[in-house]
């Protein structure tokens, strides 16, 4: 399963990159995120609550950052266990490309996701649409927050 999208941001690349590395900022971008704590430079602990099809499940897991190439992008990988509901994992390759005049940045992402257990058994048809929706929500609200901050300045 592959999901791709991109956004134009009226901000320089460094500003976007900083936000991508700010866990408070990230947390605010994930409305369904109940907990996000930095464990190390590249690792965060997370608790999220998701509804996939008929199942509402709390996932406990970790988020790791890899392929870090400041300020051009990274790969953010999350994996979580939802107890009896099974497990889910997904990663997003995030890339930042600045326009020539450095006034704006294109944020693009490619997501892949896998599910196991009951979520796969009951919700497989819904995973693609759920992952798409979640990705859009996350990057959408991330971009929105950045734009709001930009405007209020």
């Amino acid at each position: 399963m592959e999901i791709k999208d991109s956004y134009e941001l009226p901000l320089p690349k460094e500003r976007v990159w900083a936000a991508l590395n700010d866990e408070e900022f990230l947390k605010k971008s994930i409305p369904w995120c109940e907990k996000l704590e930095r464990r190390s430079e590249t690792e965060l602990a997370a608790e999220v609550k998701l509804k996939i099809g008929p199942m509402s499940t709390r996932f406990i897991g970790s988020i790791t950052l890899s392929d870090i190439d400041p300020p051009n992008g990274y790969t953010i990988t999350g994996s979580g266990k939802g107890g009896i509901a099974g497990a889910a994992s997904g990663s997003a390759r995030v890339k930042l490309v600045e326009t020539k005049d450095t006034s704006s940045t294109t944020l693009s992402y490619e997501v892949s996701a896998q599910v196991k257990g009951k979520i796969a058994q009951l919700g497989s048809r819904l995973i693609q649409s759920t992952a798409k929706k979640l990705s859009k929500n996350f990057f959408g609200s991330f971009v929105q927050q950045l734009e709001d901050i930009n405007k209020s300045k």
Binding site: G83, I84, G86, A87, Q114, V115, K116, G117, K118, A120, Q121, L122, S124, R125
Partner: protein
Amino acid sequence: MNEVTKIDGIGSSVRRTEDKKFLTGKGKYTDDINRPGQVQAYFLRSDVAHAKIKKIDVKDAQSAPGVVGVFTGDDIAADKVGGPICGWVVPCRDGSATKEPPHPLLAQGKVRFVGDAIAVVLAETAEQAKSGAELIEVDYEELSPVVDFENAGEGAQIHDEVPNNCYFDWELGDEKATADALSSAKKIVKLRVRNNRLVPNAMEPRCALAEFDNLDDSYTLHTTSQNPHLTRLVLAAFMFAIPESKLRVIAPDVGGGFGSKIYVYIEEAVCVWASKKVGRPVKWTADRTQAFLTDCHGRDHVNDVQLGLDENNKIVGLRVDTVCNLGAYLSAFSVVVPTYLHGTLLSGQYDIPAIYTNVKGMATNTVNVDAYRGAGRPEATYLLERTMETAAREVGMDPAEFRRINFIPKGAFPYQTQVALQYDIGDYEPHLDKAMEMIDYSNFEKRRAEAAKRGMYRGIGISSYIEACGLAPSAVVGALGGRVGQWESASVRVNPTGTISVFTGSHSHGQGHATTFAQIVADKLGIPMENVEVVHGDTDKTPFGMGSYGSRSLASGGSAISKAVDKIINKSKKIAAHLLEASEDDIDFKDGKFVVGGTDKEKAFGEIALAAYVPHNYPLETLEPGLEENAFYDPTNFVYPSGTHIAEVEVDPATGVVQVVDWAACDDFGNLVNPMIVEGQVHGGIAQGIGQALLEDAHYDENGQLLTASYMDYCMPRADDLPSFKVGYTTTPSTVNDLGVKGCGEAGAIASPPALINAVIDALSPLGVTDMSMPATPQKVWKAIQDSQSVAAE
């Protein structure tokens, strides 16, 4: 003239006596039974397809509310309890044996499919058991999953004992003669077909209730089984090493099996083990998801077929190379289904002088695959009847005529096929003719033209099938690798008033034995059916029996009852001779009365029964009192039902939806005991076949996750998917048994898929479509139509 009581005997469409309780919701299934103090079991299952288990931490689960015990594979191993066994193995081409890896009751070190049981949690309530299981931490080291069975040989090895993930590589027939025949053939028709994987979907999920009695060290297991005695044998002899007398197995009302309840699964065995461990009755009921994940699936073959024809379009040779998916462990009959129940059927109804087949059984990280309604025979019929249809098209013959010229002629019976079986009797043209008449075959082109005016593609498809059922004789079964006998038992007890209790080794889980078997007894003894009760399903009540599967109950179980009744009649004649002061040779038995030939001296059956139990005037010096007889019947051959089914469909090119608009089924089941029950079996079988052909498909993704694990994604046939069936019969009584009966339980599921797919291809043939895989879903059909149009446009 004597007043004769109306007897609902053989050939009468008596309403099923067992239906009152089922139709009023009063059936008593295993889950309806509860015991004081029972605990509920919940199985923690793997959610990965293939992994080493590094660690299982059950500490938190053990102290969870209501939890009584948490056990893992180590606990089972400590008690040296064995796992399920394979009931039939075959030799490999290279002379080696079938590879039989161990199947632990709970995973030991490794999990091999999504659903593999890792631990069992026992708690006061089912909810508490489930919540407790959530607290178990399993640390996996994931291994590469093997899902694509055709390439399983290159995948990660699933069992140490199974190199290249190949359980067996088996052959049957004469390879050289077949190669010669094919090389001399004027035309070779080649086809590759896939038999889609199915989930059995019995209405009642599996269930077990096990109790241990510490006063006499014995167990009682209520379970959903098609063969309680086999369940007891496997549990007692192979798993727990206890005397059979210390285990009673009861399979009460069972809500459908279709093969999936033949085997002893790990859950039932764990419940038995745990009932002693915790000293309380243990109950487990599968939910629907567990049924999808852990009931043995069916089919899942790929067949490469080569059929050689001579200049007159007569078949000269057939070669079939099959790869089949047997899943993570070898289930009880998983090996025989694609081999001796499949390869031996490849001659179908046709006179084929040379046949060779090779079958490779592969291990994958999917649940076990085993018998499902038809078991091997639907796969053989599908590949053969798809090939016959394709061959007819390629040589430009009407498919009916092409079959007709290749049928085994009526005078050729008994007919020895090139794949081991000898058909005792059959007559194939009459059921082809009758089915064609029933569906008005000769006017089909008019209907096609009329449908075309409405923008619909109409097609017609034939399937002429043969089935071998009533698996036998035991000596042959043994010579071919079977580890069980294939006889059936019956005990017929005449009560002092002349009523009858029949104890059968067969098991009824929807087949209507209480009615059919009573009819046989009523017919033979000339007594009302209401006077006959049929007892089954309890190892403490019935003689050791083999149970019900493979359409064997009537041919084997019914014949055993018939033999026992014959013994009753023989003994009764001796008693009657004494009472009537006549010679035994002069006694005729007719309409329930023993008559001295040529006189009006007679004794009713009830009088004989009473004399046997109150032997005041009785030949005690030469005859034992009482009237009860046993029979163990081991047939001398299979029985061979055959028939022709013709399907007519309309395809809507706008949506790709296939509507089954007409269906003619003409079957030869030999003599019919209860035509209404037979018709019901035919309907049910066709419905399942239509499900396979149009709707059902069990699908694992590349990681081994079962994506079709609920009715949201696994489509079962419903009433509006089915036409009103036209059902007819021809009759050539079996020569194998006294009743002249064959089996009818699987025929519909065997015959119907190729008829339907042939009809779909025929419908789309004006577009140049020549192939369609099962299930022919709207999406697939629509795409075939689009592709054909884009080819036409190029």
